[in-house]
Symmetry: C2
Subunit: 204 residues, 2 copies
């Protein structure tokens, strides 16, 4: 299969690319790096990406911005960042990709465990992650031509915590988080929210 990985230069995307590249043709898409570039916040940029890559079988998105911060300091603008980028970026990948994706292709999006397990500071992230999961559950009912759509919900990733200078002992290694994406791409599921923590302990 020819698979587009959006966010392929990020921590999770890189691990997904490594996991898929043995048996699939992987096209790495980044915001500024990779084989192709895309601005998730722009539907025009997403359409241009699809025109540039031609026919494809699957899209994995492991990208998207949202704002973390105390509720008392969050503004309307902070909410709109996540809604326009992480949420609508992924929705638009599906809306613009549906007419061109191959029969029996698949979309695999990314939410995050803050959707159902919030923490102080996640008031503008939890709704974005929950919305992505709500979209996937609903859109799965109307996928044409055997196309599937699923979403992976990752916890804090060990390499991300380490890069932020935080305690990474509770983080899940990116290679095992990536297993959730591989299951969605290579499997038969549709409309599923995949908790990446079930793959903790599995290597790449």
């Amino acid at each position: 299969m020819k698979i587009l990985i959006i966010g392929a230069t990020g921590t999770i995307g890189r691990a997904v690319a490594e996991g898929l590249s043995g048996r699939h043709a992987v096209i790495k898409v980044g915001h500024r790096r990779g084989d192709h570039q895309v601005d998730l916040a722009s539907l025009d940029s997403i359409k241009a990406l699809y025109r540039a890559v031609g026919p494809f079988d699957a899209v994995v998105c492991a990208a998207g911005l949202a704002k973390f911060g105390p509720l008392a300091e969050l503004t309307e603008r902070d909410f709109l960042l996540g809604l326009s980028n992480k949420l609508m970026g992924q929705v638009n990948l599906v809306l613009a990709g549906l007419p061109v994706i191959a029969d029996r292709g698949s979309f695999t999006l990314t939410s995050g465990v803050l959707s159902m397990e919030p923490m102080a500071g996640s008031a503008a992230i939890s709704p974005v992650n929950a919305a992505i999961e709500g979209f996937v559950r609903a859109a799965a009912l109307e996928m044409p031509r055997g196309v599937r759509i699923n979403v992976v919900s990752p916890p804090w990733v060990k390499e991300t915590l380490a890069a932020m200078g935080m305690d990474s002992s509770t983080g899940q290694p990116a290679a095992s988080v990536a297993r959730g994406y591989l299951a969605a791409v290579d499997g038969a599921m549709n409309g599923i929210v995949i908790d990446a923590r079930v793959y903790a302990g599995h290597g790449a």
Copy 2:
């Protein structure tokens, strides 16, 4: 308590107003009717509402637009309607209301069962409802001064189905849906998604 009901002229809002008005001072807010008017899609309009009503103890919102339609026909614009109106309208009611709501006051928002139980046609509504629930779960962790926040998830309402000329036999009467809102306002819960169907069979 002095309670603002946003959407008080709608089917659910009217039933909530009736249920609360015996023991509380109810201020009815509508888009065009009611004691005060507000445009949920405008943060400025929401701020003007709070300035006009003065001190208050609770906000109930039973209003908000979102687009129902086949996935193949939905556009980015259809998603943005629900995000800017039903989602950000309710988020902004909280952001702008938090500095002025009374100690131990409460916000009670509205989502809908399509959040977790989608149907064909709900791809732009399910994410909005899920996002409202994600916001409430997260924001509840940071409410100051004993303020509480909850969300009621209503099913199809009997009176709404009848007004649309559809089979209303499976709909839940607005008076029993309203019981979920009354429980949120008069109770002690915080961060809860209240499935209004648990009140089916209860009258007003």
